[in-house]
């Protein structure tokens, strides 16, 4: 993995850890996501049974929210509060760069944690923008020349010629 990418991810993770440390008795988990909800890093301060599945569910979550919001006259997603039986989710957009989501214990801390999230938005925005530009540059754009079934057949025959199957 490219060292620039790794360094930026580490910085994103440090920010997530700092967010938890601001209110460790209230904030159970922090997820930092890109624009499509793909988790870049997450930090938990308790054993969350569903931390891993939440990780993979977030792209679907963001996509569903975007679908819902597009049908409502409220513009883009700035802030979402969702109360469940076992906790509360606070989701905040990091402008056009991504999202930050936290899971908290009680509604009593909603105001405080929202202030905490806002405090970190600028820093996370800068990091996500850097991350996106570095990762886009690092990955090869495959030249888009159309592949035909005959090309693939040639590859199969080539492989078979190199090795007795």
């Amino acid at each position: 993995m490219n060292s620039d990418i790794q360094r930026i991810i580490n910085e994103v993770r440090s920010s997530a850890e700092e967010i938890i440390s601001e209110s460790p008795d209230q904030i159970r988990a922090v997820y930092v996501m890109d624009r499509e909800g793909t988790v870049i890093t997450y930090v938990t301060n308790t054993v969350l049974i569903n931390a891993g599945s939440t990780f993979f569910a977030t792209p679907r979550f963001i996509s569903s929210l975007k679908g819902l919001v597009s049908a409502l006259p409220i513009g883009g997603i700035n802030y979402v509060l969702m109360q469940g039986i076992d906790g509360i989710i606070q989701l905040m957009s990091i402008r056009d760069a991504g999202y930050i989501m936290i899971i908290i214990n009680s509604e009593a801390s909603i105001g405080l944690t929202r202030i905490i999230l806002e405090k970190y938005t600028d820093r996370l925005y800068d990091l996500l923008r850097k991350l996106l530009s570095v990762s886009e540059e690092e990955v090869v754009e495959v030249i888009n020349v159309e592949i035909t079934p005959k090309d693939v057949e040639d590859v199969i025959n080539f492989i078979k010629s190199k090795a007795i199957m």
């Binding site: 690092e138 754009e141 030249i143 020349v145 040639d154 078979k160 190199k162 090795a163």
Partner: protein
């Protein structure tokens, strides 16, 4: 003459056997690894080096196959989409030595299914030589594999097994191209 590139992605959780698979193939096939990919300057593209597991096989002067391994760790998941962009097919390798290991692959497999719903792929159940290996029907059930997707046994250290899986994936890609040509 423009060079055609077939892009194949080798996906799967950390420790599933992706690197071993490419390494085994490179023992039989003329796959170059650890070489920088460069974009042709004559086509107005800048030169870029890729820092991922990667192999390249030249089939004809105008046809190369690129194999990209995606990092299996969850923390690199945001890179999966970027690496997979423009791929023609992917091989999803899982560690099938126990049901727990197969279950660990579910999240990543769903991620690929959701982000690349129509891309041809097959699942390779690695470590089938382990006595506790999970059978193919059980793997299909755990991963909720669509009936049309093949799940194949794999021993990534075995050349014959690795080649068979690669050829099977290419056959899937070929069938897909034939179908899309027919109806496209």
């Amino acid at each position: 003459m423009p060079v055609k590139t077939i892009k194949i992605v080798i996906a799967g959780p950390y420790g599933a056997g992706k690197t071993t698979f490419v390494k085994t193939l490179s023992e039989v096939l003329p796959i170059e690894t650890d070489v920088p990919i460069t974009k042709s300057v004559t086509e107005g593209k800048r030169t870029t080096t890729v820092a991922f597991d990667y192999g390249r096989m030249k089939v004809r002067e105008d046809l190369v196959v690129h194999l990209f391994g995606v990092p299996g760790q969850e923390r690199f998941s945001f890179m999966w989409k970027i690496i997979a962009r423009g791929m023609h097919g992917y091989l999803f390798i899982i560690d099938s030595s126990s049901e727990e290991k197969v279950k660990e692959a579910l999240g990543m497999y769903n991620f690929f299914r959701e982000n690349f719903p129509s891309t041809p792929h097959i699942i390779a159940a690695n470590k089938q030589d382990v006595p506790t290996a999970v059978d193919i029907p059980t793997i299909k059930n755990i991963l909720k594999v669509p009936y049309e997707v093949k799940v194949m046994p794999l021993i990534a250290t075995n050349r014959r097994s690795a080649l068979f899986v690669l050829v099977s994936l290419l056959e899937e890609i070929r069938s897909y191209l034939l179908e899309t040509t027919k109806y496209g």
